[in-house]
Symmetry: C2
Subunit: 352 residues, 2 copies
């Protein structure tokens, strides 16, 4: 691979018989350089195929102009919309973005953090992996004054700036809705209760039950990972319950879709026999049948808000130290998978 020699500002300067300082200034569009020289420089630079050496520039400037983001998975609808939101803001603000993902592994998350730290990102955005035990790997960032913003799966100890939704309320709303549809035995399928998001949704679930005079039954709580096989297992577990449940609130749309499929395969009618509410509002919701009721969790807003706050902090416009928790709007979307009472009404009408 014969590496072509790169054109530098020295080449341009000597070709034009001017100093490198002038070339450097012209290339930065410094108004102090005369229009004529500027034009000459720009033309020659284009002709010679000059490109900025970012390493030299960054070395000199002691800045990387890069923001890192650590996510737990790339293959989720929610995460890709967060990324889209982050990317929009960072690109506009002229930052590069390095994406790292932990595959839900604590050790990989640590490795990612170390890597991004060594790459000297100017700021970091992160969501915790499934089995992250502590936040020690983010300490080096704090020590070097590199701002970190967490989103979605976070540690809400008041020490970190976090962008979240009101998971408590969402869990409450989802469950309350099921109760209003006449459900009495409501299963909750969720993931590790060590993660704030799942713990809070579970709390909301329990609160809604209690406020509606339904005793919490721990046998109706199913905790699993978010894989397809786990979802099938959860559904089978529901089917073995006696008496059968009549509603289920599931913490993830994909899992909800798989559960629904499995239940239907076992001759359960949705929503008549069991009403279902998922979480996230993925595209999948309106493609399954019946369409899935869910909590709308706008990833793009989460990404934009997290990135905007980080960028503003970096530019000195704001300061994330002053903001501990940013709550993004979310809401219940009611579709056919949970409209039990209506369907039953319709059924009655047909009978008439």
């Amino acid at each position: 691979m014969p590496k072509e020699k790169e054109v530098t500002i020295y080449d341009i300067a000597s070709a034009l018989n001017i100093s490198i300082a002038t070339v450097s200034r012209a290339l930065k569009n410094d108004p102090v350089v005369s229009k004529r020289t500027k034009k000459k420089i720009f033309d020659l630079a284009a002709k010679m195929g000059y490109r900025t050496n970012h390493f030299a520039r960054n070395l000199r400037n002691q800045t990387t102009n890069t923001i890192g983001i650590i996510v737990h998975e790339l293959s989720s609808n929610f995460i890709t919309s967060v990324l889209a939101g982050v990317e929009k803001v960072t690109t506009e603000a002229g930052y590069d973005l390095i994406i790292a993902h932990s595959s839900e592994s604590f050790s990989k998350e640590i490795a990612n953090a170390k890597n991004l730290f060594d790459k000297r990102v100017d700021g970091l955005i992160a969501s915790l992996s499934f089995d992250t035990k502590n936040l020690d790997h983010y300490k080096p960032f704090k020590e070097k004054n590199v701002p970190v913003i967490f989103f979605d799966r976070v540690e809400q100890d008041g020490k970190n700036t976090v962008v979240v939704i009101d998971n408590d309320k969402c869990g409450y709303q989802a469950t309350e809705h099921l109760i209003q549809q006449g459900c009495k035995r409501i299963v909750h399928i969720t993931s590790s209760l060590k993660r704030n998001v799942y713990a809070q949704r579970f709390n909301g679930y329990k609160e809604a039950l209690s406020e509606n005079g339904i005793p919490y039954d721990e046998n109706l709580l199913i905790v699993h990972d978010l894989s397809e096989s786990a979802a099938i297992e959860s559904a089978m577990q529901m089917l073995k319950m006696n008496p059968l449940p009549d509603g289920v609130f599931i913490t993830n749309d994909f899992v909800a879709a798989v559960v629904m499929r499995t239940l239907k395969e076992n001759n359960i009618k949705i929503p008549e026999d069991m009403a279902i509410v998922g979480f996230n509002n993925d595209a999948i919701c309106t493609l399954v049948e019946p369409a899935l009721s869910t909590i709308n969790y706008p990833g793009i807003d989460v990404g934009e808000v997290a990135a905007r706050n980080l960028v503003n902090h970096l530019k000195g416009i704001g300061n994330i130290q002053n903001t501990n928790t940013i709550i993004i709007r979310s809401n219940l979307i009611i579709r056919n998978s949970s409209l039990k009472s209506e369907i039953i009404e319709k059924g009655k009408k047909k009978l008439n």
Copy 2:
């Protein structure tokens, strides 16, 4: 933002009263440095919180150790699996990855290419956007001997190294399968025929028709983008056909799922009235009802193969100039959305 002073090899050297050269060598684990000094250096480096300055290193070494990838969209199942495959290989080989996406826009793809070129990626992996008109923006890479590998949506003019599947064959198989199921009026819903993948699948479709004595009817060809609204429109277009079609081969699973939903909403029975075959084998296939027959297009393999070839080329192990076209295995997966004949058989049995 008070920037902490960074620790450099100078700090380590002077603290230990040795030369920076020795520190540099030790940090690279050069065997020429004595174990004792090495240990001292490593320990102090860790204690002082030293981190390599990649800019200084890359500036000195004239290498970026970075591979760029341009994709048309992040929010597609196929693309995220390609990314996963690429990431696996590049990470193992010690390369950084910069992901850029064009949002299906030609001008953004050009901007991305320019950006990655200016960042001096060591190699590039790319899939063309929806409306990319030419490959001029990749010329600078060739001129500087920066290897480029295209995948999926490519220009097969023999001038580029491409990683693809046999789209022709896939289109043929999908259509042939529908014919075997007894379909006579088979619609093909696809996207811009300027893109190789869609053109080739369309070719396969026509070949299968012709070889089975079914004349090609241009009224049965629907060309749209891959959005939900376009999918709904396509389905409505099908419903207006007279006589109605009895099968449809759709170039994308998401579109296929939306079309299926729309058809069902209009009282079309799948597969009895219309059999459906999609493309890609996204997770969605087994969540819709009936499960979607499709062409399995393993993105992870595509990504791994593309990245492996690029990395080998960069390391001098292989040379992509010698390899023009790499074809990844793909295959038809038959599910219920297309099993028309069987269902009709069953129906007959039930009548007996």
